[in-house]
Amino acid sequence: MSTRDLTVPVAAPATPWRERLGTMVPILVLAPSLAASFIYVFVFTLWTLYLSLSNSSLMPTYGFVGLDNYASLWANRRWNIAYTNLFLFSGFYIVGSMAIGLLLAILIDQRVRGEAVWRTIFLYPLAVSFVVTGTVWSWLYNPVDGIQAFVRGLGWTDFSFALTANRNTAIYAVIITGIWQSSGFAMALFLAGLRSVDPDLVKAAQIDGASVSRTYRKVILPTIAPIFLAVAVIQIQFAIKTFDLVAALTRGGPGVSTTFPAIYVYDLMFQRGQIGEGAAAAMMMLAALAVVLVPYSLWIAWRRRGEGRNG
């Protein structure tokens, strides 16, 4: 009797339909964004790759020319300056903003009074867009009405501060501005890391007789090493994409001294009608990113596997 009840088909169809809907919902919700990111990231990357191997000029065309675009790109002095600037800027910018961010985070971690105020002040530059930052700093660097004029007005008439006017120093103006913009961001991440360290560790180090600097060097900072890596990776992709900051601050000048790959790509593609070579330059930017991000994600995957094994 009871076995026959189980085979009655009345209640059966309702549950599978609901269950199927239940399993479909996450897929349905995620599908649009997955499709969009697939098209915009992978399809356009592949399209750009193909364009970089084509003879496209003002409009995309599909005559295959092999690596010609890359050859002419690397023969161009301006591109070489841009690519060098990218590494110079990335290096100083990442190291500088991490060093200053870490210093600020450690200072704030000493239970200073009004911590929230300091945090807001240091994090504030991040809320300002690169264009605004670039514009404001271009005024500050301007010898006629910036910092130089201000200090001279105070009486030091020999004072000279005109980084952006000199083609050898202009890149450092960009670096300083970039560091100003993002050390607060690094500070926020470092501070969160410092706060996550077990306070008992610090007490144990205190009883062990370690000085404050030794406690930071040997105990606290090694513990938050993964945060250093995360901050560095985020900063690197900021650095490689740098466009608006430079566009607003120096417009790539004086001359071509502060040209960056992103500016160069824009210039080739939309100003000079050399889409093929522009695409080649864009692929070189992707390569620069990949050099950093591929080892990073491999390392993350390797570490996760290791954790899985231990756990």
């Binding site: 560790l201 007490k203 144990a204 009883i207 090694p222």
Partner: protein, 365 residues
């Protein structure tokens, strides 16, 4: 000579008083347990001994030195933390030598010390591992190794076993006791577990609401608790508190299940000035099934009737919930001789082991 002496120690955060006049001392080689419910101030007291918290007022002496304003590293102490606080990026060996390195101890001496401690704790094979690769018990050993290697005047333990599972906790408890016997260092041990305190300590300080309720040997604390808090906190299942009335110089009346009064003779007369209403405190193991044989062996046993409401066999013993007036008390019986549910038994209460408390001051009479 006492290794640790604490005089009238106070601690407050703003207006909030955490410790209200602590007096405590530990003789050289003694094992003192600080026990109490969470928030009683025991961990704060330990942190103040270690120098990790400032002293609001009072004195802390370690050996013959007043250490109120001495840095933790100069107090000649070592501490084992609840979370172990092992340095996660260092190997076990580096964890153990970190303190010596900070003090500039020569390398050869460091290696010698590590060898000695590793042998003592049997962690030689773990020396090159990182804390993340160790089990809870192994971490515990390493944490003790880091403390032992200092050869300090005073050992401080802050609830070191509370992160372990029940079985391991018992094992490590035994091991700490053995270790203390072997090393013989003065130890202050904070715990909220009264069994740990009873088994390990040579003297226990029971704390509540920022003050020491009683500081005595485990036996005295268990047998003659100074007040109802200590009586209720130490012992599991807890002591039964039964309201009673004085009916003469040496007898009290207790309300039985049927509403009638049962008269029990006291083992010793109460001091003069005792209140008319008292609280009779009886530990579960001092409640028996009454027999004439029992009475002849323990003359202080007094009898009364009580229905059995519930029986909880635990294997080694059987706990029975008995009804007395409108309250329930717990008795501990031999499993072979345990009452059954629904039965009304004649209880034997060993009055020579019972305590009487003043219900208003909660103090022992």
């Amino acid at each position: 000579m006492s290794a640790l002496m604490i005089r009238d120690l106070h601690k407050s955060y703003g207006g909030l008083e955490i410790l209200a006049g602590i007096n405590l001392e530990a003789r050289t080689g003694e094992f003192v347990a600080l026990v109490g419910p969470s928030g009683c101030g025991k961990s704060t007291l330990l942190a103040m001994i270690a120098g990790l918290e400032t002293v609001t007022s009072g004195e802390i002496w370690i050996g013959d030195r007043l250490v109120n304003s001495v840095q933790p590293k100069d107090r000649d102490i070592a501490m084992v933390f609840q979370s172990y606080a092992l340095y996660p990026t260092m190997t076990v060996r580096q964890n153990i030598t970190f303190g010596m390195e900070s003090r500039g101890v020569p390398k050869a001496e460091q290696a010698e010390a590590v060898k000695r401690v590793a042998a003592l704790l049997q962690i030689e094979q773990l020396l090159n591992r990182k804390p993340g690769q160790l089990s809870g018990g192994q971490r515990q050993r390493v944490a003790m190794g880091r403390a032992l290697v200092r050869d300090p005047k005073l050992f401080l333990f802050d609830e070191p076993l509370s992160n372990l599972d029940a079985k391991l906790r018992v094992d490590m408890r035994t091991e700490i006791k053995k270790l203390h016997h072997r090393v013989g260092k003065t130890t202050v041990y904070v715990t909220h577990d009264q069994v740990e305190a009873m088994t390990l300590a040579s003297r226990i300080a029971v704390m509540n609401q920022g003050s020491v309720q009683q500081f005595d040997t485990p036996k005295r604390i268990y047998d003659r608790p100074t007040n109802m808090f200590v009586a209720g906190f130490m012992g599991s299942p807890a002591m039964n508190f039964i309201p009673a009335r004085l009916t003469g110089a040496t007898s009290i009346a207790v309300r039985a299940a049927d509403g009638s009064d049962a008269t029990l003779a006291l083992a010793a007369p109460l001091p003069a000035g005792a209140p008319k209403d008292v609280v009779l405190g009886v530990r579960p193991e001092h409640i028996y099934r009454f027999t004439t044989d029992l009475k002849s062996r323990k003359p202080a046993v007094e009898s009364m009737q009580a229905p059995v409401e519930l029986v909880e066999p635990t294997g080694a013993e059987t706990l029975a919930v008995l009804r007395l007036g409108d309250l329930e008390i717990t008795g501990r019986f031999e499993p072979d001789d345990a009452p059954v549910m629904g039965e009304t038994i004649t209880l034997g209460i060993d009055m020579s082991r019972a305590c009487l408390f003043d219900p208003t001051t909660k103090a022992l009479l």
